[in-house]
Symmetry: D2
């Protein structure tokens, strides 16, 4: 199944995305060090949270806000990598389902661009973790892409 429009092509690599994130969010480097773009491909991307003690809740499970942040960054990387640095996009909606506990360690997010229109980008993300790569959470979200250029915010 083709989940994206033919011709959907990235304009930035994962490395360029990571460098841009560090530059745009200088005061957030401490928080963001754990999040990174791993791969960018036509119509999607892979992001990762390297979950450590600070991302855990009692029961040693990765916290909901940490998984929400991974999903939100996944959507932002989708927009950024397919539209470019001038993308002034903001999250308008995010719906997340939590399925299983995620242990400390890498949580991988596979993102699909479901729609890339002129003013909206819709995506979903499968978040997997653990040695068995079980699905721990799934989210769907929308980014608004205003027509004007300017500094990006997440």
């Amino acid at each position: 199944m083709t989940a994206h429009k033919p011709g959907l092509a990235p304009v930035m690599t994962a490395e360029e995305v990571n460098a841009f994130l560090k530059q745009v969010y200088p005061q957030l480097n401490e928080d963001f060090a754990a999040y990174e773009a791993v791969a960018v491909r036509p119509g999607g991307c892979t992001v990762r949270l390297n979950a450590s003690e600070r991302h855990l809740r009692p029961g040693n499970t990765v916290s909901g806000p940490s998984l929400f942040t991974l999903a939100d960054i996944g959507g932002y990387v989708c927009v950024l990598s397919h539209i470019g640095r001038e993308a002034l996009s903001v999250t308008t909606n995010l719906n997340i389902n939590f399925m299983r506990k995620a242990e400390a360690g890498p949580v991988t997010g596979e993102c699909r661009i479901l729609k890339l229109g002129r003013s909206l980008m819709v995506f979903d993300i499968d978040m997997t973790a653990g040695v068995d790569r079980h699905l721990v959470a799934h989210a769907t979200g929308t980014y608004s892409i205003p027509p004007k250029r300017g500094a990006a915010l997440g």
Copy 2:
């Protein structure tokens, strides 16, 4: 990626599901004739809406409620086919994103069971239509599975 627990296995075929739907929803046969289970597989199923004039809105696009119904039936078929006829399940949440216009004709829904727990089943569905099988809508939903047995409602 394995999106479902190992060992997740259907207990009903698509034919058995369709026969059961007709029996349980006698007064809805007129509405439901357009909806059917096409395939059942471990951890998911395929459903279809054969969209005709009555499912269209101005602009000749399949209506939002028709696509919502396809998603809701997709989730119900996931529960029914993997738990069996005694499943007394009800939809508790459904989040749907509309991406593109869907023309009259078949709308195919590919469903994944994201979680099948003791009391909740979480699923998502890709809905595609047209000669190019573009993604027209995507939904995520939750069915509650009460512990008692009884007649099923959708």
Copy 3:
């Protein structure tokens, strides 16, 4: 609490909205006869589903798709009544939670406009039913408002 921007004011009455719906959706009159705008006010509106046998599921509860339709119409009436007949708006997202069974009879939907921007309208709706007016469902949704004028679709 003021949930809407100061100055948000309707440009159509409930009667004008109902007349417009009948005109724009001629082939849907049979379906739509049960749905109506009851009141329009600054920043919101009230809609109603007069649920009869055809809207019920086994167990004599109003079906999920019928409640989804009420929510979707509620959002459309929000846009229509506050922007006007030229509004070319489409639902992009709708998230619905089902709380309790709704009996046959009137289901009332109280809608709030959470945001009315240039390109997006966000709303929520409380759906109540029964002699005790219990909350049976709640939904949040987004309508996209394209910049061009033209025939409206729901």
Copy 4:
């Protein structure tokens, strides 16, 4: 309108909730110091994020993850205050819409319990900020309440 079951009554005060949160989340005190329960009432509660520099994104707007956390805590306080310390509840779904930029300063969350069943609690939250108390975000969520007692996790 009564959005909750008659007789819905809190079993903990806001002060007791705050003391419990500090005890259960010892390693998160740094993060959680900015979040607090302000009031508990039958069928709902008020929570607050005292947003400072660390919660901001470029453009000086409170970040999406910070607002998500406020919503998530609001739901947890709903469960905790109405069921008690033994509540072993976890978030299963959260849907959030971002409407306007929120400045640094207090962000107030007004929570309603939409349903408090045996196994699920559904709530929504209006988040307001700024001198005009504009609505900056709205969320709806579900907490699962397992039948067993034990240590709570958020």
